[in-house]
Symmetry: C2
């Protein structure tokens, strides 16, 4: 792991472990430099990372301060997307369908593949603390996600892609809507037809820019509480 990431992690653990309240001032740069035996630039980079994560804010001439924590029960929605921000929650999944298909024109377009190429189609319900969280339909470019099975899809597919396949997930584009549930969706989520849903279309890319996953997710509005932090562009 990179030095500045390591330092960012340690500072983060320090904040969380000691439960430092909002406004707490961290040691000055000079102190951090000697504490972590590194250069100024590296400390600054670590702190920028933490600022991007919403953990701290920096005030020129004054210091570096701890930012507000998440409310309880809210899903942290960072620049990473939801996916790995679910730690602390009990997440499970039930696979409704899993097979290899030829993509529709829309799917092929979003995955930037040929309609003749294969994709893995996965439909599943995800649960958070025993409640239905969302209904998800995902299309994976089979040239990248070479293999999937029921067991993998019952857990975290992204974990498998990262750790199992060794692919590096980069960034994503999300299109967010508020809509009403149709009858079929309502049944799957245990809600009423016409109830609200958060509907999100996402294209996930590897860190080299290749799209590998196009997904449509309908969230159960009763479980849809998200915490989101903005940071300004001054870093």
């Amino acid at each position: 792991m990179l030095k500045y990431q390591q330092i960012a992690n340690e500072i983060q653990q320090d904040i969380e472990k000691n439960d430092l309240p909002q406004g707490t001032k961290l040691p000055v740069l000079e102190t951090l430099m000697s504490q972590y035996k590194t250069s100024k630039s590296t400390v600054i980079k670590a702190l920028s990372l933490l600022e991007r994560k919403g953990l701290v804010y920096q005030v020129r001439g004054s210091g570096i301060f701890v930012r507000r924590h998440n409310r309880k029960g809210y899903i942290s929605f960072s620049n990473q997307g939801f996916s790995d921000e679910l730690s602390g929650f009990d997440i499970t999944a039930k696979v409704l369908e899993l097979d290899i298909q030829k993509p529709s024109a829309e799917v092929a377009f979003n995955l930037k593949i040929d309609p003749e190429d294969d994709v893995y189609y996965v439909k599943r319900i995800r649960y958070i603390n025993g409640q239905t969280l969302c209904l998800e339909e995902s299309y994976y470019n089979k040239a990248i996600v070479t293999y999937l099975n029921n067991e993998i899809a019952t857990g975290s597919i992204f974990d498998y892609i990262s750790n199992g396949l060794g692919a590096k997930i980069g960034f994503s584009d999300m299109y967010v809507h508020i809509q009403k549930l149709d009858e079929n969706e309502a049944q799957h989520l245990g809600l009423q037809t016409g109830d609200p849903k958060l509907f999100v279309e996402t294209i996930f890319y590897l860190n080299n820019g290749l799209p590998f996953d196009f997904s449509r997710i309908s969230y159960n509005y009763e479980q849809s509480q998200f915490f989101f932090q903005s940071t300004g562009y001054s870093l």
Copy 2:
């Protein structure tokens, strides 16, 4: 304006003006350095800024590439929050209420002020391209936002705070929910009771960490289409 911000702006304009498609490779660092007559570090900083904004992605050993553009009709939802990402849309507002109040316990808590301190309370409907976009209730710390009137509140209050008052807006915490409209809200937004809404509570902070605005916004689900880009934490 800072050099790296200036460079970032020029590159952004270059991308948008020439409508460079996704995947277009930008000039290599060395070229950008001489083109903008600056150091490597400054170019890298400019590019990191653009990466955070979701305009480009960088691939080590390969190059810097243009990222996907927004779909038409979607509101860009960046780390800045909605507020100033509405360029290209016709935004207006109707003020329903504007007065000076003593804050409730919740408002005082979120603005970190005393219940005896004054706040400006503003309730308004905002319109996008003539349609109701949202119903907004905002509480401004009067010690920071010293003056407000009907005319200001009909336009962009944040513009006024930035440019008129010279305050520097820093970051924000947002709590996002999906709910159903009550009768009163539905009437204001021209929708039906029970229709979906996106409900967002936000605390806005100055760049020195002081909260100056606590707001509750209910969005019209028909206008609620947002484009959101994540970036990964590798910068």
